[in-house]
Symmetry: C2
Subunit: 148 residues, 2 copies
């Protein structure tokens, strides 16, 4: 899956497509996404809080499908916390990574128990590299058929 | 400000408009909003997590402008936490309220210090009244000119 294919995949969610969310880079264990400024501006002239949240939510799925075997596993977001640090006045990007040892541990745990939980901690940065928001989300990785 | 005017006001944020977010009821100290299902469905066939988040984010502004004097004060969202409880398979609504005594306390505090902080705790419910997500956001109420 290259960045173009991943962008197409996330845009299957029309909410994500409407915002113009884009995958810039993707590889097993790592992805970089961008949220464009212009269609997501708020009444103060900076990026709307919900657009920043969405930029921080989508990498969970991209990283998952770039890293794990979708024939065996799928992700569920359980909770998210976002801290807004400063107004974003440009496009915003985010990089998400998962270390190789976590991948192996989660695969083993989910294979044994049907599910495994992990946190993804992200920084959303503006064009100047300033952190505009920090986000921590808790995901559950599940094996197919593990939900009633 | 009636519900129609409030809907028009929130749709000044195009991100919010594109999702079809609607104000159903608004009065000082209380508002009810709805997120329609159809334009916000995800790849699992339920409402996308970012749409639920947006439904929980917008009431902070609606409630603020329905309750406080916008000539004197404005709101900033500082952080939000959302817990996803179950998939939402219908339109989702949320009610937000702020008690009268909190309104008076916050007005006094912001008038004296330029700012005051408060939490908004919300339940997002589906058509059957089931809670699909819980959200707590921290807002800062500020007097105009209080930001450098």
């Amino acid at each position: 899956m290259n960045a173009e294919q991943a962008t197409e995949a996330i845009r299957a969610i029309r909410f994500v497509e409407r915002a113009g969310t884009e995958v810039l880079e993707v590889a097993p264990g790592r992805c970089v996404l961008r949220m464009p400024f212009e269609p997501n501006v708020n009444h103060f002239g900076s990026m709307y809080a919900g657009a920043l949240y969405t930029l921080g939510e989508v990498p969970g799925g991209v990283l998952f499908f770039a890293t794990f075997d979708a024939e065996r596993f799928f992700p569920l977001v359980k909770s998210s916390q976002i801290h807004y640090r400063r107004p974003a006045n440009s496009d915003v990007t985010v990089e998400a990574t998962i270390p190789r040892q976590d991948v192996e541990r989660l695969e083993a745990e989910a294979s044994a128990h049907g599910k495994a939980e992990y946190d993804l901690v992200l920084e959303l940065v503006d064009r100047d590299g300033e952190v505009v928001a920090e986000m921590t989300s808790t995901y559950q990785m599940r094996t197919h058929g593990s939900l009633r």
